[in-house]
Amino acid sequence: MTTKQTIGLGCALLGAIGLTGAANAAEQITFVSQGGAYQEAQTVAILDPSAKKLGITINQDSIPDAWPAIKTQVGSGKPIWDVVDTPTGYCMRGGEQGLIEKLDFSKIPNAAAMPEAYRSPYSVSYEFYSSVLAFSQKTFPKGAPNSWADFWDVKKFPGRRALRNHPIATLEAALMADGVAPDKLYPLDVDRAFKKLEEIKPSITVWWTSGAQSAQLLNDGEVDMEMAWNGRVSAVAKEGAKVAFTYNQGILQSTSLCILKGAPNLDTAVKFLNEAVDPVHQANLPLNIDYGPGNPKAFETGIIKPERAAQLPSEPANASKQALMSYAWWSSPAGEAAEKRWAAFMQK
């Protein structure tokens, strides 16, 4: 190689470095959510605007259940993901097991401004959904079941029923059916909840495992009432099925953002976390999908019109009718024990 060529090459390299520096392309993160319409809605409302505002690249990945992957990635010592959107309980359990980074809220002012119930040392609420009592309007043109006590009352409300094949939210519903007030649920009286579930068990036609299945059951008229996620029910209703749901005694649940321990782009990930719960981005989420913003300040931005807000699970008036799920309880030893007890209950 001649000297001239070497200098030429050097200049080209320097130029390339200068260019990337200018475009800030070195800053990027890998963000993981659950895919489908939900992730598309986030891309429009939150991810693309955040990337633009921060001048970073957000690489997206999706997985229905991130938890096993978090375990393997962090376990391998070289995680490839940075930020994960996953049910809040997993963020907290991951935090306790050393799989999730502890957050420094001084660097995340948007999260620091949120009420304490909306964050944990390891996570920030990202969006809200609700496990609600849904019913067929064909079976119940009027006088529909309106509480879990009604759901449990097979004489007054005859019909086929479905519940989720999972203890989370189901135990809460059982306790409310047994007369426990929505704000007095935790710590759950697990024995009482399972006893109440034994009572309804013979009348449960299907224990559903996926959201799609719950939607299909309602859509096909396979069941007359069931516990389902609000977004699934409203999607079926939008397609023209005669179904409806009530937020009364719904169980308000959330997914949260958390950062994998040893994430390859930790600093950028923290910056992104702050931007993702910005009230304006958050307010745009429910314009694209039937989930409520994780940041309650989103309702004060004026972006969400009142009639839209009234449909959302985390809108203050709706939220007041519901029980706020305690992920701290579910990731405690008592919660884990209750989760293990579920399988024995199902097979008896």
């Binding site: 096993p68 375990k71 036609t205 097979q347």
Partner: protein, 289 residues
């Protein structure tokens, strides 16, 4: 027997074997890298988690739910195998006894469902069997029933759909075995004065038994590992072993708890193969001969 003199064709044969080995080695490597190693790694995790432990196995062998799941899985597999045999044998018999053109038609009908995914077929059965499904609506239209029958979201629906999926694995080995039974034997039986049913039960049926055993083993073993069908059609109550595997990953947050279940099932399957291979060459079960 006397020892044979060295055969010049033996050298040729050895070379051919060497060539065959070279040709299959890429496939063997793929199996080694993608199946044997990961399965071995999972099995290792079931006994090693921050130190050697048998906790995962203790759980499998002492907790009630595992026992119930294994029992249910074996029950369903046995039921599916018997039903598949009762349904499959006549089909294979027919395909064997009709002219070639017809047998090709029958066999392609048997194989046709292979082209549709298991998931799609599970949903198809849902559309047929559920409360508002085709069968219930038809029966109600005919006034045969007043209340819809519960044909799905239970073990019944699971068994029906599983039989449908596994039937080809019964019919094909049966047909292959029946093809090799010389037709002369039946004629000989008839010429000696036996009735058609007697020749069937005394000659044909015993000769077809290797096919029966092969088909039953295939169906039984495949059924043990079914996941999607019981998950979608079992209504949450039909918890088969494969579902325990996935549930254990969620519950115990480590692969070891799940792979212990898988290892127990795998050992069970290998034991079944070991027993069966005492009666019949494994090659035939796997359809090579």
């Amino acid at each position: 027997m006397t020892r044979s003199v060295p055969d010049p064709s033996q050298k040729h044969q050895r070379r051919e074997h060497g060539l065959m080995l070279a040709l299959v080695s890429p496939a063997l490597l793929v199996i080694l890298a993608l199946i044997v190693l990961p399965v071995g790694w999972l099995a290792w995790q079931s006994i090693y988690h921050d130190g050697f432990t048998l906790e995962n196995y203790r759980r499998v062998f002492t907790e009630d739910i595992y026992w119930r799941s294994f029992a249910l899985t074996f029950e369903i597999s046995l039921g599916v195998t018997v039903i598949a045999l009762l349904l499959g044998y006549p089909v294979a018999y027919l395909a064997n006894s009709v002219p070639k053109g017809w047998s090709i038609l029958i066999l392609s009908l048997v194989v046709l469902p292979f082209w549709t995914s298991v998931l799609v077929r599970a949903y198809a059965w849902l559309a047929l069997l559920q409360r508002t499904g085709v069968i219930n609506q038809f029966l109600r239209y005919l006034d045969v029933i007043s209340e819809p029958l519960a044909m799905v979201h239970n073990t019944f629906g699971t068994v029906v759909a599983t039989v449908h999926i596994l039937l080809p694995f019964m019919v094909l080995p049966l047909y292959a075995t029946m093809q090799k039974i010389p037709g002369d034997l039946m004629q000989a039986g008839a010429s000696l004065g036996a009735s058609p049913s007697l020749t069937f039960f005394r000659v044909f049926l015993p000769l077809s038994l290797p096919g029966v055993l092969a088909g039953c083993t295939m169906v039984f073993v495949l059924c043990l590992g079914f996941y999607i069908t019981p998950e979608l059609l079992g209504g949450g109550r039909t918890v088969m072993v494969s579902m325990l595997v996935s549930r254990n990953v969620e519950l115990y947050n480590q692969f070891g708890a799940a792979s212990a279940v898988a290892v127990v099932l795998l050992v069970g399957v290998l034991a079944i193969f070991a027993v069966v291979s005492r009666f019949i060459s494994l090659d035939r079960v796997l359809g090579q001969k």
